[in-house]
Symmetry: C2
Subunit: 120 residues, 2 copies
Amino acid sequence: MANQTVIRPGLPDDPRAAVAAPEPGCPVEIALAALRGRWTTLVIRELLNGGRSFSDLREALPDLSDKVLSDRLAGLVAAGVAERHRLPGRPVRTRYALTPRGRDLGPVLQALWDWGAAQQ
Amino acid sequence: MANQTVIRPGLPDDPRAAVAAPEPGCPVEIALAALRGRWTTLVIRELLNGGRSFSDLREALPDLSDKVLSDRLAGLVAAGVAERHRLPGRPVRTRYALTPRGRDLGPVLQALWDWGAAQQ
DNA sequence: CTGAATCCCTGCCGATACTG
DNA sequence: CAGTATCGGCAGGGATTCAG
């Protein structure tokens, strides 16, 4: 009788958990959408270590093209995960940093890591 | 001085966390690969409630085509998330069920849900 | 009942070149 | 320094049809 309490991870008793098709409003979809796309998690990883400029990121991820980096950053900003700050002066500098919501992705990435790192 | 302990989620101190490009062996990539693809999480949700036959799943997810359902199940089996069991007798019946590893996705989906459900 | 085969369409992402 | 514009290849996924 005690198995339910141990085994069931239990998705929330929320109507949104009962959808019959992929809904953009589903919380799981929202989270996966924020992480979707090649390079996305690596960009987040860089930002987890603190704010970075565009060229900082380009340097940390040399095989990532400018266009895709730009796309990823725009996506993260649109998802409320990161913020863009233009710094005054010349040459132009831009600083990208995670929002509080972006920092909250830490535990999510940790959960993904833990599952992926488990043997088998 | 106490901020580090609270704020940093801390990705593991593992060499695999330092990759400069998307690596298939990265645990985060492994986990995201298991969840990748439209409908995948919904199929897993169904299986979290117990073993299901092909037509059970088709009934639960009416807008999912046979082909994609087949693709998703094959992917989940290949990822070690689900198992396929042919039941004896006619007509042919197949039962899909999560492996222990598949059940371990529960907390991962929960983490994704929690982040996606949080306001903003 | 449980799929596999085929076709086509769309969106992603990489490469390259160009701009304020 | 920090992007945008454009193009093309390829894979994902939906509809339909066929098979064991």
